[in-house]
C-alpha cells in the first residue's frame, strides 16, 4: 500500500519529454496514463516532427479511445500558443483539424470546429452554414453553429440567424442567433421589441438590453427608464436596466431625472435582493 502511494504521488520534477511521449502514443498503456502524458509535454510536438506526426496520428485515428484523442487535441492546442516554435507544425495541424471536423464523435467535431472557427477558417464556416441551411448536413447543433459563426460574422450568417429567430428549433438556438445579430445595426428594432416583451425569458431580455445598449444606447436608456418606472416588470430585467444606467448611462441626463431617482431610491429599500443591490449602486453614483 505504501509503495502504491509513493508511485502515484505527484513528483515536483516532471519526467523527460521522451518518456512522456513514449507513454502518450503507446496503445498498450492505460488511457489515464496516456492522457496524463499528453498533457505533460505539449511543446514536444514543436521539437520533433516525429512527435508531431505521432500526436496527429492519435488525433486522426478513430480506433483510439476518444479520451486520448481529445487529450492529443488539447496538447496540440496548448503547443499552438508557442507560435514561433509551432509555425512549422501549423499546416499539418490545420489539415488534420479539417479532416477530423467530420469525425463520427460529436464532442471531437465540436471542439475541432471551434478551433477552426476561431481561426476564421473558411472550410469550417462553409460547413457550419451548410448545416444551418440543411440540417441533414449539420456537424453540430444549430445553436453551436451560430455561436461558432459569430467568430467571423458575414452577411450570410445574419440572414440565417434572422430565420432562426423567426422560427427557432429551440431556445438555445434563438439565444445564439440573437447574440450573432447583436452586431447588426438593422436588428435594433427587434431587440427593442424583445426587451419590452414581458413574456420573453429573462436571458433573452438581458441579451436584448446588451445589444440595444451597443447598437442604440439612447433607446436602451429610454427603455430602461420605462422598465424601472414600471413596478409590474420583473426583478432581473430591472436590475439589468439599473446596471446599464449606472455603468453606461448618460450621466448628465440621469442625474437630472428626479422622477427616476426618486423611484430608484424607493427600490433600493423595497425591491428584491438583486434590485436593491443595483439600486444602491445607482444611488451611490447619482445621489438622491
Amino acid at each position: 500500500m505504501t509503495t502504491k502511494r509513493k508511485a502515484t504521488k505527484k513528483s515536483a520534477k516532471p519526467r523527460s519529454t521522451r518518456a512522456a511521449m513514449s507513454v502518450a502514443i503507446s496503445k498498450s498503456k492505460p488511457v489515464k496514463e496516456r492522457v496524463a502524458a499528453l498533457a505533460e509535454v505539449p511543446l514536444a510536438v514543436c521539437e520533433s516532427d516525429k512527435d508531431l506526426q505521432a500526436t496527429l496520428n492519435v488525433l486522426r485515428d478513430q480506433d483510439e479511445p476518444i479520451e486520448v484523442r481529445l487529450a492529443s487535441l488539447q496538447s496540440l492546442q496548448a503547443a499552438s500558443f508557442s507560435v514561433i516554435a509551432f509555425e512549422s507544425c501549423r499546416a499539418d495541424y490545420i489539415a488534420t483539424l479539417r479532416k477530423v471536423a467530420t469525425d463520427p464523435n460529436p464532442e471531437l467535431r465540436q471542439r475541432v470546429l471551434g478551433i477552426l472557427a476561431r481561426e476564421k477558417d473558411g472550410f469550417a464556416q462553409k460547413k457550419l452554414l451548410e448545416g444551418l441551411q440543411n440540417p441533414t448536413k449539420a456537424l453540430v447543433p444549430p445553436e453551436k453553429a451560430l455561436q461558432l459563426l459569430s467568430y467571423d460574422i458575414h452577411s450570410e450568417a445574419y440572414s440565417v440567424a434572422r430565420k432562426v429567430v423567426e422560427n427557432p428549433p429551440n431556445e438555445d438556438a434563438k439565444r445564439e442567433a440573437l447574440r450573432l445579430l447583436a452586431a447588426d445595426a438593422k436588428s435594433a428594432p427587434l431587440f427593442e421589441k424583445l426587451l419590452r416583451d414581458k413574456n420573453e425569458n429573462a436571458e433573452i431580455r438581458q441579451i436584448s438590453a446588451a445589444a440595444l445598449q451597443a447598437l442604440k444606447p439612447e433607446k436602451l436608456q429610454s427603455n430602461a427608464r420605462d422598465i424601472l418606472l414600471d413596478d409590474s416588470d420583473y426583478d432581473d430585467i430591472r436590475a439589468t436596466s439599473l446596471t446599464a444606467l449606472t455603468q453606461f448611462g448618460d450621466a448628465e441626463a440621469v442625474a437630472k431625472d428626479e422622477t427616476l431617482k426618486k423611484h430608484v431610491g424607493k427600490m433600493s429599500e423595497k425591491g428584491g435582493a438583486k434590485v436593491k443591490r443595483s439600486a444602491r449602486q445607482f444611488m451611490s453614483k447619482y445621489g438622491r
Binding site: S82, I84, D236
Partner: protein, 407 residues
C-alpha cells in the same frame, strides 16, 4: 504645527499606493506655529489600520530593517526629509485608504495621510468589494466594445503573436501587457489591482454569476443582472464564450503545479518551457475565446490567467535571484527573433510597424503610473526583469503579488 506627507514623493492622491517594495516618501513641516524649537522637531510616524485594512512599515534609508514606527528629525524651515514606506508583507489593503500614516509630535497629531497597500491577489479570495470594483473597471474599460479595451484585444492576435509567444520574450511581453492593462483599470478605479487565477488550485469563487460568470453547456457565459460584465462586447459581438473542460469548483487536470513549474530549472531557458504547460495547458482547459491565440484576449479571464503566469515568473525570480539582466541565467542569451532579445524594444509600445513587426501598433505607448516611472513608455525586454527594483530601485514597476515578498 502641521506636516505634509508625500507618498512616492508626490502630493497627488493618485500616488498614495504602495506595495511590498519600499516607496520613496517625504515629510516636511508646512506650519511651524507652536513649535518649541527653532531647528528640528522629532516627528514620529506610525501605521494605523482600519479593520481588515492594510499595514505599512517604515525605514529611513534605502537599506536596513523596516519598523512599525519611525522617528524623523524634521527641520522647522520646511525642508523635506526622505523616508521609505512599504506594505507589511501579508497585510495588504482591501480598500483604498484603509491604512493611515499618522505623524505625531509627542502625543499631538500633526499630520496624517490615507493610503493603500495595493497588491495583486488570488482572485478566488477577493472580498465582495474588491470583486465588484474589478468587474466594474473591466466593464468600463470595455465600454460595450467601444472602450480602450479594444486596443488590448487588438494587441493579442495571430498577426502580433510572434512578438509575444514561442520565444524568450514571452514572459517579458506579457508582463508589460498586464502592467499596461492594470494601469488603465487603475485610471478608472485606482483601488483595483489585477488579481490572478491560480489555475493549479480550485477557484470556485471566480466562476460565479457575480464575478467572471458561469458557462452554460454551450459555453456561453452567463452573468447576474447586477454584473456589468453582462454588457461585455468584443469584435462587435456581445458576451463571452468559455466552455470549461473541468468542473469549475476544481482545478483543471494535467497542469503543472506551482512546485513543478518552479522546479523546471534555475536558468531561464528551462523555466520558460512553462509556456507550454502550465500556460498553454491552462488556456486549453477551456473551449471558447480563451483557448485560441486570436481570440484569447476577448475573455477577461485571460488577464487573470496571465497574471498567474507572471506571478510564477516572479516567484521563480525571487527563488533564484533572477532579476538582473546582466546575469546570464536571468534570461536566454541566444540570438532570438526580434522582440525577444534583452536590448530589443517591445511591440506595440515601441510604435514600430515595419516588418518583421506587425503592420499596426494598437494602443500607443505603455500607460504611465503616478507612483513609479518604470518600465517607461517604450519598454525594452530587459526593462521587464527587475520589477521590484531589486537591482536598481528606479526599475520598480509598482506591482507586487500577495505571496511574493520583496526581501
Amino acid at each position: 504645527m502641521n506636516v505634509e506627507l508625500q507618498i512616492n514623493n508626490s502630493t497627488s492622491t493618485r500616488a498614495r499606493f504602495v506595495s511590498w517594495v519600499p516607496s520613496p516618501c517625504r515629510i516636511r513641516i508646512t506650519n511651524p506655529s507652536g513649535a518649541a524649537s527653532s531647528h528640528n522637531m522629532n516627528i514620529k510616524l506610525s501605521s494605523v489600520s482600519a479593520a481588515s485594512g492594510g499595514e505599512v512599515v517604515f525605514r529611513k534609508g534605502t537599506t536596513g530593517a523596516f519598523a512599525s514606527t519611525i522617528t524623523l528629525s524634521v527641520p522647522i524651515n520646511g525642508t523635506s526629509v526622505p523616508f521609505f514606506v512599504a506594505g507589511r508583507f501579508g497585510r495588504p489593503s482591501a480598500n483604498n485608504g484603509d491604512v493611515k500614516i499618522e505623524a505625531r509630535l509627542g502625543n499631538a497629531l500633526v499630520g496624517s495621510i490615507k493610503l493603500m497597500v495595493r497588491v495583486r491577489k488570488n482572485a478566488n479570495n477577493l472580498t465582495t468589494g474588491e470583486r465588484d470594483r474589478l468587474v466594474a473597471a473591466f466593464a468600463q474599460l470595455n465600454n460595450q466594445g467601444a472602450g480602450r479595451f479594444a486596443d488590448f484585444r487588438d494587441m493579442h492576435t495571430n498577426v502580433s503573436s510572434p512578438q509575444a509567444h514561442g520565444a524568450p520574450g514571452f514572459l517579458p511581453w506579457h508582463r508589460a501587457y498586464l502592467i499596461d492593462l492594470e494601469r488603465e483599470l487603475q485610471n478608472i478605479d485606482p483601488s483595483v489591482a489585477l488579481p490572478y487565477w491560480r489555475f493549479d488550485q480550485a477557484s470556485p469563487n471566480i466562476f460565479t454569476l457575480d464575478f467572471f460568470g458561469v458557462s452554460n453547456t454551450l459555453g456561453t457565459v452567463q452573468f447576474s443582472p447586477t454584473n456589468p460584465l453582462q454588457f461585455w462586447r468584443t469584435d462587435g459581438v456581445p458576451g463571452i464564450n468559455r466552455r470549461p473542460f473541468f468542473a469549475t469548483n476544481t482545478a483543471p487536470p494535467g497542469l503543472r503545479t506551482e512546485a513543478q513549474t518552479l522546479a523546471l530549472g534555475n536558468a531561464y531557458p528551462a523555466f520558460r518551457t512553462m509556456e507550454g504547460n502550465p500556460h498553454g495547458s491552462a488556456h486549453v482547459s477551456f473551449g471558447g475565446y480563451i483557448s485560441s491565440i486570436p481570440t484569447a484576449a476577448r475573455d477577461p479571464l485571460f488577464f487573470l490567467l496571465h497574471c498567474n503566469v507572471d506571478r510564477l515568473w516572479a516567484k521563480w525570480q525571487r527563488q533564484f535571484s533572477r532579476f538582473d539582466p546582466a546575469v546570464a541565467a536571468s534570461f536566454d542569451g541566444a540570438a532570438n527573433p526580434i522582440g525577444h532579445n534583452l536590448p530589443d524594444t517591445m511591440w506595440p509600445w515601441n510604435g514600430i510597424t515595419t516588418p518583421p513587426r506587425p503592420p499596426t501598433a494598437p494602443g500607443g505607448a505603455l500607460a504611465s503610473s503616478p507612483c513609479v516611472s518604470a518600465p517607461g513608455p517604450q519598454p525594452r525586454v530587459r526593462d521587464s526583469l527587475d520589477y521590484q527594483g531589486v537591482i536598481n530601485s528606479v526599475s520598480s514597476m509598482g506591482f507586487d503579488y500577495d505571496d511574493v515578498p520583496f526581501a
